[in-house]
């Protein structure tokens, strides 16, 4: 990793009650990368994302863009991390534009009807990047699953945060939308953002990421370029499946094939 890390964690541990969910996680991730966070169910992937964003208490230290996370107030954290939780909950049928404008909330632009120039521009950019400008006035609850996932993504991009954390953004999407979402996250990474994506899809992880992190039972067991970090041995060990592996258009192809 030639570039300086913008997000580091040292000896990060999280316990929920008496149960240890994450232990001794250390990582250093530079900007402009797409990082795939993979691991079996219950490995602690979501917990790791939430701990990194400071959404739950953890031991150890986290630094983002040179500042200790613990020294940052809630709104300052919110400007550094854009967080996309699983399932994109949307409780009220608000118009798409207002949902995306919530991405400017951490910047003090709390009223979507009164966005200042830079905030309005950020919202517009995010909507264009995710191709939802045509849906601007539609109530978000009336959209299809694919459209909703794009709107959720637009909301996250509108934050203009140096770090984007996305928890299974491709879950329950058809293949076309999966590729679409990953492509847009890839673009965000190419524009300098550090994007961390939790996914169960090893194929998407191998295809789109620069770095793969493999989590198992709360520990980071493998990290590096996906071709190395997602080796047959690691996957067989952690996921207990055998994979088919190939190279296609200079990318690694991984297809889970049979039980190990």
């Amino acid at each position: 990793m030639s570039k300086a890390a913008i997000l580091t964690a040292s000896s990060l541990s999280v316990s929920l009650g008496k149960r240890s969910v994450l232990s001794d996680i250390s990582l250093a991730l530079p900007g402009g990368r797409l990082v795939a966070l993979v691991g079996p169910n219950g490995a602690g992937k979501t917990t790791l994302l939430r701990a990194l964003a400071g959404l739950l208490p953890s031991d150890g230290t986290i630094e983002v863009c040179g500042d200790a996370l613990s020294s940052l107030a809630l709104d300052a954290r919110a400007r550094r991390f854009a967080y996309l939780p699983q399932g994109h909950q949307m409780h009220w049928p608000l118009p798409v534009r207002d949902i995306v404008a919530l991405g400017r909330y951490p910047h003090g632009a709390v009223d979507p009807a009164r966005l200042a120039g830079p905030d309005a521009a950020a919202v517009m950019r995010a909507m264009q990047a995710t191709d939802v400008t045509g849906l601007s006035d539609r109530p978000v609850t009336e959209l299809s699953g694919g459209e909703r996932s794009r709107v959720a993504l637009a909301r996250v991009l509108a934050v203009d945060a140096p770090v984007v954390l996305a928890d299974e953004p491709t879950a329950s999407l058809d293949p076309r939308y999966q590729i679409e979402v990953m492509t847009r996250l890839r673009t965000a990474a190419d524009n300098g953002t550090l994007v961390i994506v939790v996914t169960h899809d090893l194929g998407l992880a191998a295809r789109f990421s620069d770095i793969a992190l493999v989590l198992s039972e709360g520990r980071l067991v493998s990290q590096g370029p996906p071709a190395e970090a997602l080796s047959e041995a690691v996957i067989e060990n952690i996921f207990r499946v055998r994979i088919y592996r190939a190279d296609y258009q200079r990318e690694t192809v991984i297809v889970p094939w049979s039980e190990a």
Partner: protein, 339 residues
């Protein structure tokens, strides 16, 4: 498109303001002595006969002010709770807040034999309302389903009702018990400026707290987790919302007894016109609440009957069927809560 929506919101808000103004005038004109709006305005600004001035300024104005303020805070509280819980069936009365506030007030009356117009009354009502809403949200937990909230609210309001009954039961003075029983029905009759002074500061404080949090309610549309990631301190927001509702509802109950269902109905009437945005719903819901309570308070004066119908009885008679209608409409969500 956005401009059209904004313009419609503005038109609706202006129309509501006008409606509230008209209803206030009607409220000042209706009673044993009927006065025309012109006569009311004259008397209000120092004209007309002395009798008219006394009727309008001293007898009916406090009643109209309380109707307006209490209706508004109930509408606002309903909109705020619905925003906080992302749930269209939330409202102070379904959560037992007015019942708990009434118990607090009744308890200090019975215990201390204090003056019914003492400041202790709203303080006790507010404290009890705060405790009840706090306990309710604590029982319900973070991602409470509709069903849990309503069941817990039912339990709390039943408990508060039983505690109130017990207090009356043990009261040594049967007339005091009767007095309390009538007061519990909710009424704006024979209220003076002393009552206004008693309730209004708390109502205004509660409204200010709730209004200052309105944009956070919008962020909550994405769920608590996303709201937190946007910088909303959800735990603190809950406490502020509970405090705002308790101040407003407690202050209202202390002078007018339990007037229910306005907080439930007002936001619902506004959603088709204003949209679902919890922040933008708040002012129109407050105005609608004010209009509803003023109208109900005019209606109880116009309905011919041998004894006075209490306004709290009327709002419940209209509100409960409306609530049943909402349950039918939200049946699927309720069923989902069971799973």
């Amino acid at each position: 498109m956005q401009d059209i929506a904004a313009r419609r919101r503005a038109v609706v808000t202006v129309a509501l303001c006008a409606g509230v103004a008209v209803l206030t005038l009607v409220s000042l004109g209706v009673g044993p002595v009927k006065l025309s709006p012109v006569a009311v305005l004259e008397a209000l600004f120092g004209g007309g006969s002395e009798v008219q001035r006394i009727i309008v300024q001293d007898i009916r104005l406090p009643r109209a002010i309380l109707g307006l303020a209490i209706g508004a805070i109930l509408g606002l509280s309903g909109a705020a709770l619905q925003g906080l819980l992302r749930n269209p069936l939330a409202s102070p009365s379904l959560f037992g807040a007015p019942q708990a506030a009434a118990f607090g007030a009744v308890l200090v009356i019975a215990l201390g034999g204090i003056d019914v117009r003492s400041f202790m009354l709203p303080v006790a009502a507010i404290t009890a309302a705060f405790v009840s809403v706090f306990v309710l949200l604590a029982i319900a937990g973070r991602n409470a389903s509709l069903l849990i909230l309503i069941l817990a609210g039912l339990a709390i309001s039943s408990l508060a009702g039983a505690a109130t009954s017990l207090t009356m039961n043990l009261s040594r003075n049967p007339f005091a018990a009767l007095e309390i029983a009538f007061w519990l029905l909710g009424s704006l009759e024979d209220r003076s400026f002393r009552h206004v002074a008693l309730a209004l500061p708390f109502i205004v404080a509660g409204a200010a707290i709730l209004m200052s949090r309105r944009h956070a309610f919008r962020a909550l549309s994405l769920g608590e987790e996303s709201a937190r990631s946007l910088g909303v301190d959800v735990g603190r927001l809950r406490l502020w919302a509970i405090l705002g509702v308790a101040l407003g509802v407690g202050g209202a109950v202390a002078v007018a007894g339990a007037i229910g269902f306005i907080g439930l109905v007002a936001p619902h009437l506004m959603r088709p016109l204003i949209g679902y945005d919890p922040a933008r719903l708040m002012v129109p819901s407050a105005l609608t609440g004010a209009a509803l309570l003023l109208a109900a308070d005019v209606a109880v004066r116009l309905i011919p009957s041998t004894s006075d119908i209490k306004v709290g009885v009327l709002t419940a008679l209209i509100g409960v069927p409306f609530f049943l209608y909402l349950i039918v409409r939200e049946r699927r969500a309720l069923g989902g809560g069971l799973a």
